[in-house]
Structure formats: structure tokens, C-alpha cells
């Protein structure tokens, strides 16, 4: 079966969505991410959607679900690279992705996640 790869980099999970996803693939990704977080003890999830030409309400809901499930499992999620035309359409559709942190680039997203991890370390020492 088709799958979107979930890569591990230190304590982060990296996901790059490069195909036009059908709905089952999106649901599979949701399951895979939560399993990988608990298996690898990840503290951050970075999802790169720069190749996505549209985000409709289904994919929007998947992103919101991943962010919510990760949070419950103790990991932060950042969605990066949304194309401007996709952002315009998504807001007009009525979805502003509340609860999902976003950043313009992979670098900016990484900084957000590492920043959050460092703050958590400081707080625990």
C-alpha cells in the first residue's frame, strides 16, 4: 500500500507530502505519525506541505488532527511551506487551521521546534 514516509531526525519527525493524497492515504499518515511518536519518543513533528497544490477541508482536518494528537502525546507540530494561493483558498473556504502552528520554511519550522525543546529542557532542570 502507498504510504507517506515519516523520517526521524534526532527527536523530530520529518514528513514531506509530495503527492496528491487520496483520503485513505491521509488517514494512514495520521495513524503512522502517532505510532512513530510513541515508538521513537519524538518531541516534535515537522510537516512540509510546499508541494501541495491544494488543501481542502479533509486535508486541513488531517493536519489539525495530527497537531492535536501529537500534543496529547507530548510532541509539538509545525506545518511549513504552505503556498500563498493555498493559504488564500483555505481561509476563504472557512478554515484558518486553529491550533496548528505554521512557519514559512523548513528552517523556520525547525527553529520553532528546537526552541520549544530547549525551553522544555530549561524548565525541567
Amino acid at each position: 500500500m502507498d504510504r507517506i514516509p515519516v523520517l526521524r531526525m534526532g527527536s523530530l519527525l520529518l514528513i514531506t507530502i509530495q503527492v496528491d493524497m487520496h483520503d485513505k492515504l491521509a488517514l494512514q499518515l495520521q495513524d503512522d505519525v502517532t505510532e512513530r511518536i510513541s515508538e521513537w519518543g519524538a518531541t516534535g513533528v515537522l510537516i512540509d506541505i510546499s508541494s501541495l497544490e491544494i488543501v481542502d477541508s479533509f486535508i486541513g482536518r488531517m493536519l489539525a488532527n495530527i497537531a492535536a494528537m501529537s500534543r496529547v502525546l507530548g510532541a509539538d507540530t509545525v506545518v511549513v511551506g504552505m503556498q500563498p494561493a493555498v493559504a488564500i483558498t483555505l481561509v476563504e473556504l472557512g478554515m484558518s487551521l486553529p491550533g496548528v502552528r505554521t512557519a514559512l520554511s523548513v528552517e523556520a519550522g525547525m527553529e520553532l521546534l528546537y526552541g520549544a525543546a530547549t525551553r522544555a529542557d530549561d524548565a525541567s532542570t
Binding site: H22, D23, E53, I54, S57, A85, V86, E92, L93, M95
Partner: protein, 134 residues
Amino acid sequence: MRVLNREVMPLKTSSDVVMARQKVRLWAVDLKFSLVDQTKLVTAASELARNALDHGKGGSMTIESLSNGSKSGLRLFFEDQGPGIPDIEQALKDGFTTGSGMGLGLGGSKRLVNEFSIESEVGKGTRISVIRWK
């Protein structure tokens, strides 16, 4: 208003929804729609195709290129023989859902196009037509 070209495709599986998006994108690119307009039309098509599949138990999409004087546009029909929509006004409201979605499908896609019409008969099915002018 003249119809220049027409194509019909089935909406029976979730892969058909992906195909429908790609077809609408190709036609919108052919008509030289701007990137934002392409994205809006493809997103609306995705919502409506999924509706026809999830709520209407499958159906078809018809795509037409239109010419109206100096204007060109794309019209999409989504037809299904599903249970129909008893209260259309309620179904168009944001947040209304009978399925597992966000309830943004109908109302949201209406905002992404220029013309939107919906005919539905309980027990017979639903036909939605949308137009986006260039």
C-alpha cells in the same frame, strides 16, 4: 452562453476524487486561469466530489468550458443518486455536517466560485452546478 467542450468522469472511489482534482486543474490551466483562481476551483471541486462520494454514494462529475461573449469560464456538475438533501439552506451553513467532515464542504465551496446552484430531491439524488469565470 456557449459550451465549448464537455467531459464526464465517474466518482466512485477516493482515487476518482484525486482524478477529478487533476482534471479540473488541467482545464483551468488551459483556460489560463490565475494560480489563485485555479486553486479555488480545484479546492471547490475536491469538496463537491468528496460530497458526492461520501454522502451521495458515488456519482459523476461533468466539466464544461464556457464562453459568454468575451468571458470564458469553467462549469462543473456533480451528480449523485444518493439520499438527497432535505434542508438545503441548513446544509449550506458552515459547521453543518452529517458525516465526519468539518461541515465546510457546501458553504465553503460556494464561496470559492462565482455561481452556485443546487437541486436535490429526497430519495432521488443531488445535482450541484458551479461556475467560475476567468
